[in-house]
């Protein structure tokens, strides 16, 4: 199958996200992580696993980073986070992802 033809383009998450329209809220992030609770509850690894946009990443020392500009606003991270580990709400009106297809 496939006959050597190209698969879907582009192939990385970053490139796929590059086709989306985002309006970055430079004044505030809509994602806040409590590193201590995250570490204690193992929430960090779950955030990294479930986020389709790859917003979350884990440093070697276990610190969780959140690249909030790429957020697709689905709320899946909040659904798997232990209580107190993550504060996540929608970006302010007019900011964040703006779907053109949907």
């Amino acid at each position: 199958m496939g006959g050597g033809a190209r698969a879907v383009n582009p192939q990385t998450t970053a490139e796929r996200l590059g086709h989306n329209r985002f309006v970055l809220d430079e004044a505030e992030s809509h994602i806040e992580i409590d590193q201590e609770v995250c570490r204690r509850t193992g929430t960090g690894k779950r955030l990294v696993a479930v986020c389709p946009a790859g917003v979350y990443s884990e440093l070697e020392d276990g610190t969780i980073l959140a690249e909030y500009a790429a957020c697709l606003e689905c709320g899946t991270c909040l659904a798997v986070a232990s209580p107190g580990a993550l504060r996540w709400h929608y970006p302010r009106g007019g900011f964040g992802v703006g779907f053109r297809e949907g």
Partner: protein, 440 residues
């Protein structure tokens, strides 16, 4: 909001969220002559909204007769394909139903195009659309009962007051949750949907999917496309693009040790799906949290001064063959508009007065279907659906079609041998078969 007595409502009704649930509720309430504001956090309706893409449209046709000829819908689904996929084989049931074309049963939609049309209908009916405004919280006052009475919403420094607030704020449902109407759902009832819209020429789509004109196909796929993780994949035809995605149950995904991105990319490259997508260009990438608990996840839908509609109320059905959200959202909107209208007319917008919504909802197809499929979520949690049965079906058809020189056996004997060789036991097959018949 300026020169009025404190506590006097600015509107009869505030609807939060301009998706199908919100826009239809706003339309029907405005048609009744009520003053309605429709608040939307996206800078245009649809900008924040995403779904797999199939809308079962009969209920919307009752609200907007002939909508498929006016609204920006993509294709009319006349072909439903359900596929069990293994790493190198697939077994499919392909229903191509001409009668599905008229009257139109299901259409594909792209929400950033479709939702603005719905919101325009609400405006046309007299609702006031307020886009680009995020509602931060409900405005409450001490109520007659234990829970507070909702009297409006707060957005930044602004307050808007109304007799009734309609929470149509989607699956995350911050508003309903903030006053305890809907508890946080368990992870085995939640899934993440990951989707790409892939552009392809119209003619290529029609040739690959065996459709013509404005007809379209909807493929539901289970098995190796999700690497055996509970859930499945979908592949829908739009006019000049495909919607391809996976839906992954969160408990199973976390347990698997894989990432959602990894599974989605595996699906895109799967030999059973890649030929449909070949040479396509990703136009957009998105995701959506999916509530799959069915009846078990429907929360309380009425409070003092508040009703909850659509996904915010937990109204979704996955029957295994069809995945539904938008039609239930619209059905709940119809029930809510009737109930809210009656409550406002009677001058009682407490939970008691608004209970009319719950009664109309209970009598509608929405709750009837949720009750019919009440056992489906538990059935679909049986892990064999996502691996073993695909192996079994592929093994059986391999034996049927592979003429390798060995003596032929009757079909029943071949099937028996396929079961014996598969990971499924006869006991499991009978148990799943019985449960499946009752659940689906």
């Amino acid at each position: 909001m300026t020169e009025q007595a404190a506590g006097e409502p600015d509107f009869d009704v505030i609807v939060v969220g301009a998706g199908p649930a919100g826009s239809v509720t706003a339309t029907l309430l405005a048609r009744q002559g009520l003053s309605v504001v429709l608040v939307e956090r996206g800078d245009t309706p649809g900008a924040k909204n995403l779904s797999g893409g199939v809308l079962y449209g009969r209920v919307l046709d009752e609200v907007f007769p002939g909508f498929v000829d006016q609204a920006p819908v993509e294709r009319r689904i006349t072909r439903h394909v359900t596929t069990f996929l293994t790493a190198d084989s697939s077994v499919a049931i392909d229903y191509a139903g001409g009668p599905l074309a008229a009257p139109v049963n299901a259409v594909t939609v792209l929400r950033a195009r479709f939702d603005p049309w719905l919101a325009e209908r609400a405006e046309e009916a007299g609702a006031f659309l307020m886009p680009g405004v995020r509602v931060d919280s409900l405005l409450t006052e001490p109520g007659p009962g234990a829970s507070p009475r909702v009297v409006g919403v707060r957005a930044g420094d602004d307050e808007l007051r109304a007799r009734v607030v309609v929470a149509a704020d989607g699956v995350n449902s911050f508003l309903a949750r903030s006053i305890g109407l809907r508890p946080k759902p368990p992870e085995h009832h939640l899934a993440v949907g990951v989707k790409a819209v892939v552009g392809l020429p119209r003619r290529v789509i029609e040739d690959r999917f065996g459709v013509t004109g404005d007809e379209g196909a909807a493929h539901a796929i289970v098995g190796d496309c999700t690497l055996g993780i509970g859930g499945g994949a979908f592949l829908y035809t739009n006019t000049e693009s495909l919607s391809i995605g996976v839906v992954l149950r969160l408990d199973d995904l976390v347990r698997s040790g894989r990432t959602a991105v990894e599974v989605f990319e595996h699906c895109l490259a799967h030999p059973g799906l890649a030929p449909y997508l070949r040479d396509g260009e990703v136009l957009e990438y998105g995701s959506h949290l999916v509530a799959e608990g069915g009846l078990g996840m429907v929360g309380q839908v009425v409070g003092d001064g508040l009703v909850v509609v659509g996904e915010a109320a937990g109204l979704t059905i996955n029957s295994g063959l069809t995945v539904r959200g938008m039609d239930l959202a619209i059905g709940s909107a119809v029930a809510a508009a009737r109930g809210v209208g009656e409550a406002v007319a009677a001058g009682d917008t407490s939970a008691t007065g608004l209970a009319a919504y719950r009664r109309h909802l209970d009598e509608s197809f929405v709750m009837q279907d949720l009750r019919t499929y009440a056992k489906a979520p538990a059935f679909l949690e049986r892990g064999r659906m996502y691996g073993a049965y695909g192996e079994l079906a592929a093994g059986l058809f391999h034996d049927v079609f592979s003429l390798d020189g060995s003596p032929r056996r009757h079909l029943a004997a071949t099937a028996w041998r396929a079961v014996r060789r598969s990971p499924v036991t006869i006991g499991q097959l009978m148990s799943d078969g019985w449960a499946g018949v009752r659940a689906l």
